[in-house]
Amino acid sequence: MENSNKTAMACIRCGRCINACPYALNPVNIMTTMKSMPVDKEKVKFLNPAACDECKKCNDVCPSNIDLATLVKRAKIVAKLP
């Protein structure tokens, strides 16, 4: 089931998504970078969201029901921008 169906709460930085990610990404950091304005493109590229294969394990473990996978997917697009 996707977290987008549920009410998302504030991230409490428990770090479970990082431990669950099979590609050792940092979904929390990607999320906070994507939510900041303006988005720091260099930081997004450094965090390497392109490695994500959208397995959504980060969504499964998140206690706050945040839809991290969609944010990482958006970060992929931002990382590809020139």
Partner: protein, 389 residues
């Protein structure tokens, strides 16, 4: 639309609960902290009576009211909207986390206060209210509420109280307020406010006093004195996986190692003080066990990745031992946790923070350990023991 979401959500949760038993919600994590705090609260109510009830309930009420005001201010556009479509009621915007988190912060701060009257006696109400307000506003709310705070609100409240009002706590001590027969008398070595203020000497660091420290028949913080409820709370939080065991283990390992080094130096000066007894005395005195159970392991103010969390625990242990050994303040746990919170962002900077344990992270952990121990041993080597023994 809103009704559909409300009907769907429990079904989704049930399916997920069957599929993935370790999925937890934020509400349950906060309920778990409340359950873990319950033994310490019950113990303090039993032993310190109305004084403990006063010291716990006033911060809880103050922080709760402050959080509610914050919820109103945060959702003012929806609450005071003139358009009926966008207007919401107060209970629609209120989350369970908004209720639970200030209660937990208030209980933690209340349990850290001393079992001692202020002079004059009414001042304690003012101190508790002002410190709680300062902690919740400047420790949490100005950052944007739960999940966005850098510093632990309970630690901010406690440090504010220590800095501003510690000279006012000069009244009578309270212990065994209900006159319970099974409680032992207060241990004789604590003529001063806390065990750490009693100082380090061959008469204070004995196995009898360590037993008194473990059982809690000493003066000090109302929730920190007896270690049995704290160990129950720690075990519960670890079993429920609400806190990260890596931070706890790295903190305890570094703390014991550095205390042992200090104990060896003191043993070299005074052969009557055993290094192992000194290490146990340091672990059981003050707020070390309380701080590591309820404040150090709080996920919001910790770094994110596993290697960073190990480093965070080590850095806080180093700061605690330095403050306890060399600073004029006897207790350093709350100060060290705040300094660690501040350093957390630096440890967790995205350019060097590793998400898994690699040789680089192990090297960084080794450097922190060796540097901390080396500088501490160097300082101890040049320390004048005449003043403390």
């Amino acid at each position: 639309m809103v009704d559909t979401v409300k009907v769907d959500a429990p079904q989704n949760n049930t399916v997920e609960a069957v599929k993935k038993p370790h999925k937890q919600s934020v509400e349950w994590m906060l309920y778990d902290v409340l359950i873990a705090l319950a033994p310490a609260v019950i113990y303090s109510f039993l032993v310190y009576g109305v004084y403990a009830i006063r010291n716990v309930l006033i911060p809880v009420a103050t922080m709760f009211i402050a959080e509610m005001v914050f919820v109103v201010i945060k959702n003012r556009k929806a609450l005071f909207s003139k358009d009926e479509k966008t207007k919401k009621k107060f209970f629609d915007v209120l989350n369970v986390t908004d209720i639970l988190s200030p209660i937990i912060s208030g209980i933690i701060f209340g349990l850290m206060t001393q079992n001692r009257d202020t002079d004059p006696e009414w001042l304690i109400y003012f101190i508790l209210i002002i410190s709680s307000l300062f902690g919740i506003i400047f420790g949490k709310l100005i950052f944007g509420g739960l999940g966005k705070n850098i510093f632990n609100p309970a630690a901010v409240s406690f440090v504010f109280m220590l800095i501003c009002f510690s000279s006012k706590f000069t009244g009578a001590f309270h212990y065994n307020a209900w006159g319970l027969s099974f409680l032992p008398n207060v241990a004789s070595f604590t003529t001063s406010a806390t065990a750490l203020e009693a100082g380090i000497s061959s008469s204070t660091i004995t196995m009898d006093n360590i037993k008194a420290l473990f059982l809690g028949n000493i003066n000090g913080g109302i929730g920190e004195s007896c270690k049995i409820p704290l160990l129950i709370g720690l075990a519960y939080l670890l079993i429920r996986r609400d806190i990260d065991w890596k931070t706890i283990v790295s903190f305890i390992a570094m703390f014991l190692l550095m205390s042992l080094v200090a104990g060896l130096f003191i043993y070299g000066h005074n052969g009557k003080i055993s290094p192992l007894t000194y290490t146990l005395y340091q672990l059981l005195s003050g707020g070390v066990l309380f701080g590591l159970t309820y404040m150090l392991s709080e996920p919001v103010t910790m770094p994110l990745t596993a290697p960073s969390r190990v480093m965070y625990g080590m850095v806080i242990a180093i700061i605690v031992v330095f403050i306890r050994t060399f600073a004029s303040a006897p207790e350093g746990m709350a100060y060290a946790i705040l300094m660690g919170n501040g350093l957390g962002c630096f440890i967790d900077y995205y350019k060097w923070s590793q998400t898994r344990f690699t040789w680089k992270s192990w090297l960084a952990i080794a450097i922190i350990g060796v540097l901390g121990l080396g500088i501490f041993a160097w300082c101890m080597n040049g320390y004048n023991f005449g003043g403390i023994l």
